[in-house]
Symmetry: C2
Amino acid sequence: MKETLNLNAQAVLEAVHTAPSHPTALQIYETVKHTRPHIGLATVYRILHLLVGQQYIKELRYSDESCRYDAKTARHDHAVCMACGGLFDLPVAVDLPHEALEHAAQTVGMQLASHEVRLYGYCPSCQQQNH
Amino acid sequence: MKETLNLNAQAVLEAVHTAPSHPTALQIYETVKHTRPHIGLATVYRILHLLVGQQYIKELRYSDESCRYDAKTARHDHAVCMACGGLFDLPVAVDLPHEALEHAAQTVGMQLASHEVRLYGYCPSCQQQNH
DNA sequence: ATGGGTGCAAATCCTTTGCATCTGC
DNA sequence: GCAGATGCAAAGGATTTGCACCCAT
C-alpha cells in the first residue's frame, strides 16, 4: 500500500516524528531546511498531503491557528487548553464502551470507523498563572 | 452577563439558529443580507466573535474548510463523515463515565472543564454511493 | 525524450484591520 | 459632540497552483 518515499518526503516525515509536539507546516519546513536547504514550502505542503493520504501521519485541526500534523497515527485522545490553546496527547485512551459509540453512531445512521475524545480545560501552566 | 444585542447582532444570531446545519460565516452573511441589506461581511465576523465570546453560539473547526458556527451551546457530540466531510450533531450524548474523563485529564495535569466526542465514519448518503 | 518531482512566485481563500462615516444618546 | 458600531477596501496569513526546469530513467 505504502510506496517508497523520496529523500524530501523522508526528511519531512522525520521532521514530523522528531518535532516536540504537533508541528505546523511552517515549523516542519524550517526543520527540513537543515538537511534539505533547497526545499520549498510548497513542496512541504505537497508532501504533507501525500503522507496524510498514505496514513503515515495525521492532520489535526483545532482552535483558529494553522493546521498541525501528528506523527502518532494510532487512535488516541487529546486535551485542549482553553487558555493557551495548547494541544496535548493523552497517554491513555479514555475508557469508552464500544456499545455506547455504536449506539450514538446509529442515531444518525453513521457507519462508525473511529472516534476521538477531546477534553477541554486548563493545562498545568495556565492553571498556575490564574492560580 | 449577556448584554443586549443590536439589530445586526440579532439578525446574525437568528441566522445561525435558523440555518439548516452548521453555517459558515459566508452563509450567515448571505442570509442576514435578506433582512439587513447594508451589512458587510466584516461586521458579520465581528458579531460572530462577539456572540461566541458571550456564549450565544459556539465555534466549530473540523476538516480543512472554513470556520463554522453552532447555535447549540449545550455540550453535545459530533459525527464527521470521512467521505463528504459533513458534520452531524448527535442527538444523544455518548455515555461516558465522569471518572474516566477525570482520570484521563489527570494524566496530563489538566483541569477539566468540558469534553467532546467525535465519531468518524460514513454518513448514510455516502454509504449508499460506495454501497 | 519523457515524466514525475521541485522551486519559485503568483494566486486564492478566509479572516482581520484601518479608517472615515454614521448613529443614537 | 462622543462613543461605539459599521461599511468598504485593503491587508494579512495559510495554503494552493501555474509553470518552467531538472533529473533519473
